[in-house]
Structures are given as structure tokens and as C-alpha cells.
């Protein structure tokens, strides 16, 4: 039998952890689950039209990234603070895990980056995407993606060095 798409359940089981990690790094803790549901519902709708040789991981992480951006925009529309360190995802809650303070500061700094830099950093390090794939996911040139990543990292570096 030629290449065909795996059953959706297998696709979901393969990438659920990656999607969860990306969203946890991208949106507030209260938004992760909704974004996760919306990501896979959107993936399910488009799934049969996908080419079997597609990079499924990059595809679903791109959808997750888009849902995270939607969540950010919705939050801005509701006029809530964009970066509220106290509510920045579940990392600060001790029930999940208690990372060293520097990790904590770093994750907060990621949440405070401008949208495109945050996208570039998250897609590079949580989705393992190459510059070309990041550019596709964000919808910009490869060079612009490279620059956003560089600028984002420069800001994060200050946090780590401080």
C-alpha cells in the first residue's frame, strides 16, 4: 500500500506532548487547554486534505502557534495586560514543577517578547523548526525569521546574564 495518512488518533497521540509544550510556553496557563482543543479540532477538519508526505509535526505545531497568536490577540482585545508574570502559564504553580528561579525569569521573558520574536523563539526551541520552517509558519522571509530569532535571543540573553 502506498503512503497514506496515519489514523488521526495516532497523529494525535504522537504530537500531543509537543503541542502541549509549545502552548504552555506561548499562552497563559488558563488558555493552554482551550488552545490545545482548538488546535486539534482545526487539524481534524483539514486532515483528509493533507498530503501523506507532509511534515505532520511542523504542520500541527504551526496550527498551535496560530491558535496561540489568536489567544494573545483576543486578550489584547479584552484589554487585559499582555504580559502578566503572575499568570504566565502554569510554570509558577508549584504543583506542576518548581524550576530554578532563572528558568522562571527566562520563561517570563519569552512571554514578554514582541509577538514575532516570541513566535520565532518558540518555534525554534519548542518545535525544533529550522529558519525556513519558522518563516513559513510566521509568514515572513527566512531572513526576517532569522532576525526575529536573533533579536529575541538577544533580549533573553540579558535576562540570563543579569
Amino acid at each position: 500500500m502506498g503512503a497514506s495518512l496515519p489514523p488521526f488518533q495516532r497523529f494525535l497521540d504522537s504530537y500531543r506532548d509537543d503541542v502541549w509544550r509549545l502552548l504552555r510556553a506561548s499562552v497563559h496557563s488558563g488558555e493552554v487547554d482551550d488552545c490545545f482543543q482548538e488546535t486539534f479540532i482545526a487539524a481534524m477538519r483539514a486532515y483528509p486534505r493533507l498530503r501523506p508526505d507532509s511534515n505532520l509535526r511542523a504542520w500541527v505545531l504551526t496550527i498551535a502557534h496560530r491558535k496561540a497568536l489568536d489567544a494573545h490577540r483576543a486578550r489584547v482585545r479584552r484589554a487585559l495586560p499582555v504580559a502578566d508574570p503572575a499568570s504566565l502559564d502554569g510554570r509558577s504553580s508549584s504543583e506542576e514543577r518548581t524550576p530554578p528561579a532563572r528558568d522562571e525569569r527566562l520563561w517570563e521573558a519569552v512571554g514578554e517578547l514582541p509577538a514575532r520574536q516570541r513566535s520565532a523563539v518558540v518555534l525554534r526551541y519548542l518545535a525544533d523548526m529550522k529558519h525556513r520552517e519558522i518563516a513559513q509558519a510566521i509568514g515572513c522571509s527566512e531572513e526576517a525569521a532569522r532576525r526575529s530569532l536573533h533579536e529575541g535571543l538577544a533580549k533573553l540573553r540579558k535576562v540570563v546574564i543579569a
Binding site: M1, S4, L5, P6, P7, F8, Q9, R10, L12, D13, R16, D17, V19, W20, R21, R24, A25, D33, F36, Q37, F40, I41, M44, R45, Y47, P48, E95, E96, R97, R102, D103, L106, V110, V121, Y125, L126, D128, L153, L156, R157, V160, I161
Partner: protein
């Protein structure tokens, strides 16, 4: 103060840490189960499946919007069964226990000797037109009864097609519920069974069509 290079490496380490986070994995698993159930309930999934316990071990059951489409024995590898369903019906397949609950209940009652006929709607998608006629004729054989391959072929409209009928029964996608175990050789010998001859004998004994341990074969 840390050098620039070290700082970047440290950032990379923290951000892309592959350390297993059990709590996050558990949350992702819970969220995934919820999204699967929701897809099945909202009709976004074309096929829902779940394992169902039986005296033969865990059976894999799959339903479409039309009805039960597949029942696979434990030795049929679940992954390959699902792959076949993905390529022949639709890749929109999710695990959803709730969708299989009616089938699970009827099978449980059947194996407990409390049910003589299944009321489940069936989806014949996986069978050719000829196989469908054979399987429909087979589905009408009552609990405790048996027919020969020739009789089933005749009822399917192909009196001389007993070999073809045998093939259709051998590839029955919904065994037990479509009781191909009730079809025997003309002389009363058990004939073949996709799930193994011991299971055929066991089912016929359960239904009282065969005396325990004394049947032909």
C-alpha cells in the same frame, strides 16, 4: 558574568529541554482524550473505535455514523486494522469509548448468554456487493441455527457460488455480530473460520448448536 556564547547555550538548554515532564504529559493525555471524545460526539470523526473485552481477549470495535463497521480479533494487529480503516474509509479516526458503548453492552450480554440477537446498526462499507448479500443472508441465521455454505450462497442469489460465499464469509469484517460461525460444510463439518476453528466451535457451543466437546470438525 557569563560569556555570550554560554548564555545562549544556556537559553537553548532551558527552552528546548527534553526532560520528561510527567505532569505535563499527563495533562496532554487528558486533553487528548477529551478532544477525541468531543470529535466523536460532534460527528467530526468518521470512524470511532475502542477495545472491548471478550472471552477471546480484547476485541477492536469500530463504528461509523452508519453503524458497526469492524470487529477485529486480538491477533489482528490493532495498528494495521486502524491503518486499513484509514485508507479504505477515512483517516478521521479517533478512539472514543462512548461511541462503542452500545456494541460493548450487546456483546457482553451475548457472551453472558443473555442475548440471542444483535440490534446494532451495521455499516457494510468494507464488503463488496456480492459479499454484502452473503453476509446479510448470514445475519438472518437465527441464534442456535446453522446453514451450509451452499444454502447461504443460494440465499444470497448465487446457488452455485458456495466457494465464493465461503470466501466472503472468510473476510467478514464484523464476525460474531454477523454470525459467519453459523455456516458449516454441507456434511456438518465445521469448515473454516477467520478467527480460528476453536473460536467457531466455542461460539456454536455457546449457542447450543453444537454439543460441548462432541461436535464434528
Amino acid at each position: 558574568m557569563m560569556g555570550d556564547r554560554n548564555a545562549v547555550e544556556e537559553i537553548e538548554d532551558i527552552l528546548s529541554a527534553r526532560t520528561h515532564d510527567a505532569a505535563a504529559a499527563a495533562r496532554a493525555a487528558t486533553a487528548a482524550a477529551r478532544v477525541s471524545a468531543r470529535m466523536a460526539a460532534e460527528g467530526l470523526a468518521d470512524v470511532s473505535y475502542a477495545p472491548v473485552d471478550s472471552p477471546f481477549g480484547p476485541l477492536l470495535l469500530a463504528v461509523t455514523k452508519r453503524g458497526l463497521v469492524r470487529l477485529a480479533f486480538p491477533e489482528e494487529h490493532p495498528d494495521s486494522v486502524l491503518e486499513r480503516l484509514a485508507s479504505t474509509i477515512s483517516p478521521r479516526i479517533v478512539e472514543a469509548t462512548a461511541s462503542l458503548e452500545p456494541a460493548r453492552r450487546e456483546l457482553e450480554e451475548y457472551f453472558a448468554g443473555q442475548r440471542r440477537a444483535f440490534d446494532l446498526p451495521l455499516d457494510w462499507t468494507l464488503s463488496s456487493p456480492f459479499a454484502r448479500r452473503v453476509l446479510r443472508a448470514t445475519a438472518r441465521i437465527p441464534f442456535g441455527g446453522v446453514l451450509s455454505y451452499a444454502q447461504v450462497a443460494s440465499r444470497a442469489g448465487s446457488p452455485r457460488g458456495s466457494r465464493a460465499a465461503g470466501n466472503a464469509l472468510g473476510s467478514n469484517p464484523i464476525p460474531i455480530v454477523v454470525p459467519c460461525h453459523r455456516v458449516l460444510r454441507s456434511g456438518g463439518a465445521l469448515g473454516g473460520y477467520g478467527g480460528g476453528i476453536e473460536r467457531k466451535r466455542w461460539l456454536l457451543e455457546l449457542e447450543g448448536a453444537l454439543a460441548p466437546g462432541a461436535g464434528p470438525g
